[in-house]
């Protein structure tokens, strides 16, 4: 990661600036909500262990939402950049290997079976299980040394199969409320998440981030193709397995808690790539931080918009992200 510090001093200030912005956005997210809250006073209550209502709102409602926004955004931005680097394709997104479809299906199965109401962590656990199954299916293919093209095809297949099963669950749902809930959950949101959900997802995401960030030099080497990367001493089979595991943990953990949130992992790496000289290794951390900022800002926006019920986060990121991507594509076409 610290690759070319001396030659390109601009990159660390960029990461520091984005890190500062991400922290600021996390704090701003704490300030925004539907009830008036004196955050400073509430923080004082928390620090002194006073069980006030303000402290409760801060720790039980605002904090999980802000922290999850930051972590999920980081996961999406980081994984998007890693997948684009691995597949050497700017159209790859965090879900390209099928884990997000698997996680969504896992959560839907929990909804459908009625387990969702049984205990509060049933839903995210179902999501994690779904991501795990999708990853194992993928490993069954790439573990035997299949190439990148096989990886993409397997991911696309797993995603569309999971999508079909999700649609099947909706189709067969005898209870219209369950179907309604499934549809809304699939749109992706950070609303009403709890601290236990954060504690469930965060360790998974942290391990995933570690795996993804450790692949930075290999992704740089891959810029010149697979032969050159191998000749520079990188084991591509291991790289693929590491990145699949990392994205399964990061995105699987994220989707399990928040539902599918699109476009962040696709657009953010695009936007930041020129700022790191297009180096895929350098892009990882920066793109993660950018993803955190993007998701937090979008989540603040849905709470500030005078629309009720609150817009789903996944809907907003897609509404903003799609035209944005079009603009980027247009710019790329002009440059080409």
């Amino acid at each position: 990661m610290s690759g070319a510090r001396a030659r390109a001093p601009a990159a660390w200030p960029l990461a520091a600036a984005l890190g500062g912005l991400a922290l600021a956005a996390t704090f701003a997210s704490l300030l925004v909500g539907y009830v008036h809250l004196d955050v400073v006073a509430a923080l004082g209550d928390v620090a002194h262990g006073r069980p006030s209502l303000a402290a409760l709102v801060l720790v039980q409602l605002r904090l999980p939402r802000a922290a999850l926004g930051c972590a999920v955004g980081f996961s999406l931005g980081l994984t998007g950049a890693a997948m684009q680097g691995l597949l050497r394709n700017p159209l790859a997104d965090p879900g390209v290997v099928g884990v997000s479809g698997g996680a969504a299906l896992g959560a839907v199965v929990v909804f459908y079976s009625g387990l969702a109401g049984a205990f509060s962590l049933a839903l995210p656990l179902g999501g994690v299980a779904g991501a795990l199954v999708a990853t194992l299916a993928l490993y069954a293919l790439v573990g035997r040394g299949a190439g990148t093209m096989t990886l993409i095809l397997a991911g696309v297949t797993i995603n569309s199969f999971a999508g079909a099963l999700t649609a099947l669950a909706l189709n067969l749902s005898s209870n219209p409320y369950a179907a309604y809930e499934i549809m809304f959950w699939l749109m992706g949101s950070l609303a009403d998440r709890s601290l236990p959900q954060l504690w469930l997802a965060l360790p998974l995401m942290l391990v995933g981030w570690g795996l993804l960030l450790s692949s930075a030099p290999a992704l740089d080497a891959l810029t010149l193709g697979e032969d050159t990367a191998m000749s520079l001493g990188f084991d591509l089979k291991r790289l693929r397995l590491t990145l699949v595991a990392g994205s399964a943990l990061a995105v699987g953990g994220a989707v399990a808690v928040t539902g599918a949130i699109g476009f962040v992992g696709l657009v953010v790496p695009h936007l930041l790539r020129p700022l790191v000289g297009h180096r895929p290794g350098r892009l990882l951390l920066v793109s993660g931080l950018g993803g955190a900022i993007a998701l937090l800002v979008a989540d603040i926006a849905v709470r500030l918009l005078p629309i009720h019920p609150e817009l789903k986060l996944g809907v907003v990121t897609a509404l903003i992200g799609a035209p944005f991507l079009l603009l980027l594509i247009d710019r790329l076409r002009r440059e080409a």
């Binding site: 610290s2 070319a4 510090r5 001396a6 030659r7 193709g225 050159t228 191998m230 000749s231 001493g233």
Partner: protein, 271 residues
Amino acid sequence: MRIEAINATVRFGGYSALTGVDCAVRSGEMVGLIGPNGAGKTTLMRVLADLQPLQAGEARYDGRRAHELARGELARRVAFLAQGGEATWPLRVDHLVALGRLPHRRVFSGPSAADRAAVEAALRSADVAHLRARTLGALSGGERARALLARALAVQAEMLLADEPVAALDPLHQLSAMALLRSVARGGAGVVAVLHDLTLAVRFCDRLIVLAGGRVVADGPPSALTDAVLSAAYGVDVVRGEHRGEPFIVPWAASAPSPGAGKPAPDPAGP
């Protein structure tokens, strides 16, 4: 360092790209690998670089097999320049060249003074220092080839395996790149270059390995590149001459067909 291919045999589907190839290259010598399209040159280069799974035979590095070397050792000791390389992302030339230092990096550490010096030396040697801030996409084909050559030089390996390093270059840069490769060899490293220009091959190389149909048909000093060998390997007749004591060879016409040898076929390893 000495790299040997022993009985190297590679098949793609039903097609034999290499059949029982034995050859050796060592540090300090400049070897030209020549032969018609589809002769197996790229496949043999990939075998020597330990990039190619073999159906039979093996590659040895100072007598040891690749997996017996320390992790990353092969990457530091053997540099590989792929044919007609492209970069996925529009990196600056100097960032691209710095990728050649990755085998020398420790995890999570920045470039050392030696890394920076190697990158600078490589940029200058390949005559791309003035292009350092340009991206690969903003270069001509020849400039791109030189930037990629600089990337391979930056490894400062004991052996440089270069697949068609001069194919895209203009005449002046062909000559300077060949002189550069020879100076690398004189500096103690080994160089194996896949070449198509017979004059460059006989002028600059210490030894030529001629492949045809996946087999070695000649291996020896440039003087061993006789008309019979060229006719058998390429199916061409050549015009020879001498200028200031150095030989040149110009392909002139298709030779009368001889059965078996030099059969044109698509290069199975691809670009």
